[in-house]
Symmetry: C2
Amino acid sequence: MHVSEQAETGADPVPDLPGLARRATLRDVARRAGVSTAAASKVLRGAYGVSPGMRERVQEAMTALSYRPNTSARGMRGKTFTVGVVISDVQNQFYDQVLSGLTPVFGAADHKVLIAPAGTTMESELAAVEGMVDHRMDGLVLVTPLVPRAELERIAAILPVVVVARGGAAEGYDTITTDDEAGSALIVDHLVGLGHRDIAHITLGWSGDDPTLPFRARARGYEAAMRRHGLEDRIDIVTTAWSHQGGFDAAEVFLSRPGLPTAVHAGADVAALGLLSDFWARGIDVPGVVSVAGYDNSPIGMLAPISLTTVEQGAGELGMRAADLLLERMAGRTEPRSVLLAPTLVPRSTTAAPRA
Amino acid sequence: MHVSEQAETGADPVPDLPGLARRATLRDVARRAGVSTAAASKVLRGAYGVSPGMRERVQEAMTALSYRPNTSARGMRGKTFTVGVVISDVQNQFYDQVLSGLTPVFGAADHKVLIAPAGTTMESELAAVEGMVDHRMDGLVLVTPLVPRAELERIAAILPVVVVARGGAAEGYDTITTDDEAGSALIVDHLVGLGHRDIAHITLGWSGDDPTLPFRARARGYEAAMRRHGLEDRIDIVTTAWSHQGGFDAAEVFLSRPGLPTAVHAGADVAALGLLSDFWARGIDVPGVVSVAGYDNSPIGMLAPISLTTVEQGAGELGMRAADLLLERMAGRTEPRSVLLAPTLVPRSTTAAPRA
DNA sequence: CTGTTAGCGCGTTCAC
DNA sequence: GTGAACGCGCTAACAG
C-alpha cells in the first residue's frame, strides 16, 4: 500500500516522529485553515464570534488532519469534558446497572465517562478519588463511597461531586439513594407476614460507623422493624464481607450454632447468593428450612432456578438522576440536593412460611 | 475549629480561591523547600541527581502542602502514570474478571487504571479509545475490541497497546487470548461424546468478519469439530446479540422451528443464560430435552441451581499477563508478542446424554 | 461583531 | 544543582 494523492487532503496526520506518531495540534489546524489558533479554538468549542465561512474552513482542516483535542492541554486552563465515576467493586452487578444509567446521560451531554476501580480499603478508595482529581475531571460520581464525610466535603470543595447509594444531607455535594431503612423494613415485614420470628441479618464488616453508609441504614431498618414487631429479643446481626465469600462465611456462622434462624435477610444479593451456595451444597432446603432474602435485585436473582426474594433499588434510575444532578452542578448550581427514592419489595421463591 | 500553628507545617493547602479550592503546585513545593522547581520535579519522579538532604526537604514540603501532581500538566511533556482499559460491556462478568487480574499488577507498578465503557457499536468503541488517547494515557489495554485491525495498528502507532481476548499476530501491538477454536471444539467433543449429533451454535451478530474476533473463532472451532465428527450436515449456527436478551431471542428461533436440536452451544455464558431462561419459563427440561453449554465460566454458572457447562478461559490470568505485557511495552519493547492460552472444559449439569 | 496577538497554566527537560 | 524554554489549548486584551 503506497501513499496516494489522498495524502494531501486525506486522513493522514502530521509526519510521524521516530517511534510513536504525532497527532495534529490546534496550531496545525489553524495553519492549514489559514487562521489564528484563537479562531480555531473558538470553532473547536463552538464559542461565539466566528463567521460561518471560517467555521467551515476550520472544521474541514480538523477532519483532514484527523484533529483531536489534547485533553491534558485542555485540563490546564479549561474543562476536560470528562466525568469520573468511582466504583468500589466492579464485580457487584448493582454498580454495573448504575453505570448503565449514567453513561448515556453524560454521552448525550458530550462528556466522556471514565471509571476508576476503588478497591476495598479506604486508602485505595481515596487514592482512586485523588487520581480522578489529578486528572482534572470536570465532576465526580462516587458510588457507595466508604470514606468519612469530612473527606467527601473536602473533595467536593475541589470539584462538583454527586454521591450515589449513600444518603444523608450534605453541605457541598449532592446525594441520591434509595431509602435503605425502608428497604430492609420491607423485607422484615414480608418475613414476619409469612410467620417468621427468628430473622437474622447479615451486614458488612467495616470499621467506619457513619450512619449514612447503606449497610448501616439497612441494619438500622432491620432492627427498627424487628422492634416494631415486638421481636427485639430475636435481633441477630452477623457481620461479614459483602461478597459471595462473605455470604458463605455467614452461613458457616449460622451452621456452627445450635439451631438455624428460620429466615436470613442479607444486606446485599451477592452475600445472599454466597449464603445460598453453602446451604445448597449442604442440602439445606430453601425456603423449606430457612428463608433467604437479599437486597439489590441483581440480574442473577431473577433467574428462575435462583428466584431470590430481594429489594429493588432502581439502580438504573439512580445512575440517570445522579448524572443529571452532576450536570446541574457542573453548570453552576451550588445548593446541595439530596434525593431519596422509595425501594420496592420483590418477593420470589427463596422466602416462604416457616415450617410448623 | 480555628487556624493553629499547625498551619505553618500542617496539611492545609494553599489559600482557597473563590469557588473551588486551589491545590498546591510543584512551584509551591519548591518555594517552601527553598529549591528550584526542577529539583522538586526530580524528587517527585525519583529521578537521578538530588542529594538526600534536598530530597527530604522537598518530600517534607510535599506532605505539608498535601501536594498532588497535576496529571494534565504531566501529560503535556512526560508520562501520566495512567493506563486505560477499554471494555465493551461492563455487564459481562468476564470483563470484570479480566479487570481484577489487571488492576493489582498496575497498582504494584505505580500506575493508575482508568476504565472507559466502549458501548456496543464500533463508533462508540472507537470514541472511547480516542478519548483515552486524548487523555494521554501511557498505554492501553483493549478487551475484545471490535474495530478493524487497521484501526488497532493505527492506535498502536500512537501509544503502547495490548489486546486481550482477541487473537492473531499483529505488527504493532501485543495480543493475549485463549484458543477460542480449541475451546468450542472442547464443547463439541464433550457433546458428541455424550451422544449428541444435532448440536447448534449461537454466535454474535456483527457486521465485521475479521477472523480474529473471538466469536468468529468459536464458530470456526464449532464448525471444524462438527466436520471432524462427520456432522457437517448438522451444522446449525444462529446469529444474535451477545447478551441475555440475545440468548432469549435465539431460544425463540429454535422454538419457532419444527424440532429442537438436542444440544446448543452458546458462544458466551450470558447468551446461554438467556436461552436457559426461555427454556425454564416454558418448562422445557434441561438437559433432559436439550443440553446447553456456554463459554466463559462466569460466576453465575457456578451456582448450584444453574450449574452451567462451559469453558474456562482464565480471565484473571489473561488480565494479569496483559498487564505484564503492557508494562514491558511501556518500558520500551517493540517486538510484538502474541500469547495463546489453552482453555479447559468445565462440564456441569446442563449437559447430558440425549434421550433415546 | 470578527479576528488576532500574547501570554497563561504546571510539570518536564535541557543547556549551563 | 539552577534558570528558562517547552508543550498545547484557552482566554484576556486588543485591532480591524
